[in-house]
Point group: C2
Chain length 253, copies 2
DNA sequence: ACCTGAACACCGTTCAAGT
DNA sequence: ACCTGAACACCGTTCAAGT
């Protein structure tokens, strides 16, 4: 269509001035935010930057490096948001480690909500980026400053896992708006699948009255559930810290 | 190479006898187990079944349906393993809901360890498969049978999230054997990155003595950490159940 | 040093034919 | 009803060439 029309040679020169790895990363983030991660192709990305696809390869080795760059952009946003808050609340010497850790993780989640593709991309990286390492290092630092033992902190980081970066652990999270709502949620709530999934149906019909729509499964409050799960872990860790225990109750298998 | 040699027309006839959706799913699982999920192309899959690529489209609508089928195979394996155990231990009327839930989840993890590609594929599905629904329904049933309230069970499922299916929540899990070990773990353990990641380094040098290698980051016991995190959640849920409380400590932000 | 166009080796999938 | 070969529209990426 406009393929022929856009052949005007002049205005693109200003565009590509200063094409750089960082600008490529930022453009990739914008593209994924606006059109979804599956629209992120080297050709689309180049077009967004007013350049041909192959020009990108002068600034990144391959697409993996673009994805790495995107992770850096997002996690840096988390750092920035946390730093900003720390400045506003003037250090907060009175805050417990639990408050501080909780705040940092909820900030991470808040940032990730703006980049729905980020968990998938972060999880796909085979090498952990320095920015992500810094995030975990900061979190660990907060716990250590609160006097939590090295060993407990170690296990705490494993227990939090990707949740520490704000990942929602929901199994069914619609990837984007127009996705069909997974199972026929409406049918479940009407009780039509009660014979197949009696207990899920029970929850659906009872709990659906308590909350508004506009959440993952239609009747759940994602923010509440995230905080619920996070607090379950943090409270448990705090208890272990206070009692000097290390492992939760050992179970007979 | 052998492309010309394999043109012998006879033996393939026996192969494709009874090509079916289930056989396609099973072959896809085998292929992904043996050669990794990135080797799962329609062409490779067809070849494995002694058939041309386009023949597959008579049994599945598209590649998504193949992936759906693979999820069914894996989750069915979990059901089978649990059923087998239930038979062996003769019902187990004396077992608490915590024991039962714990066992089912650890079984799920054990099964998933044999299919490293499974978490990624399961997470990529936009629609939750009936098999997965059944798994969650069973889990919910165990809690309800133990007298846990509908509301608490609801939140418990969110808190467990994909962990209920045996997902490890590790952020950096090497996708396959030959992956480079993410960050230069050796360098961290030698303390060379102490200035960048002081707290991670502290954990690495102190904790690396306690465990053997051959785990995610080289010094961590993945099974221990999975159980630690799981028990943290289950113990917390049990406490809420016993005290009749619903939400963990509310935090000031 | 930076950018480009054509081309290559792969994908998933459509289509018109074959049996 | 089931299978096939050629082809299409896309990928990421290589290469030789332009400035």
């Amino acid at each position: 269509m406009a393929t022929r029309g856009r052949r005007t040679p002049r205005p693109r020169a200003t565009y590509r001035a200063g094409l750089t790895r960082d600008r490529v990363s930022q453009a990739a983030v914008d593209l994924a935010d606006e059109r979804g991660i599956e629209a992120l192709t080297m050709r689309n990305l180049a077009q967004e930057l007013g350049v041909e696809a192959m020009s990108l390869y002068h600034h990144v080795a391959d697409k993996n490096e673009v994805l790495d760059g995107m992770v850096d952009v997002v996690v840096s946003e988390i750092h920035a948001r946390v730093a900003e808050f720390d400045g506003a609340s003037a250090g907060g010497a009175d805050s417990t480690w639990k408050r501080a850790v909780r705040h940092r993780i909820l900030t991470a989640r808040d940032v990730l909500l703006g980049h729905p593709w980020a968990p998938g991309v972060i999880a796909s990286r085979t090498t952990m980026s320095p920015t992500v390492m810094r995030h975990y290092d900061s979190l660990i630092g907060l716990l250590r400053a609160g006097g939590v033992s090295v060993s407990l902190v170690h296990h705490a980081m494993h227990a939090l896992g990707s949740r520490a970066l704000g990942f929602t652990q929901e199994l069914y999270a619609p990837k984007n708006e127009q996705d069909d709502p997974g199972m026929d949620v409406a049918a479940i709530m009407r009780g039509e699948l009660a014979s197949n999934y009696p207990y899920i149906t029970e929850i659906a019909v009872i709990e659906s009255g308590n909350h508004d729509k506009d959440s993952t499964l239609g009747w759940c409050d994602d923010q509440f559930e995230f905080e619920f799960g996070l607090d379950l872990l943090l409270d448990g860790l705090e208890k272990l810290h206070n009692t000097g225990q290390l492992k939760p109750d050992v179970q007979a298998t």
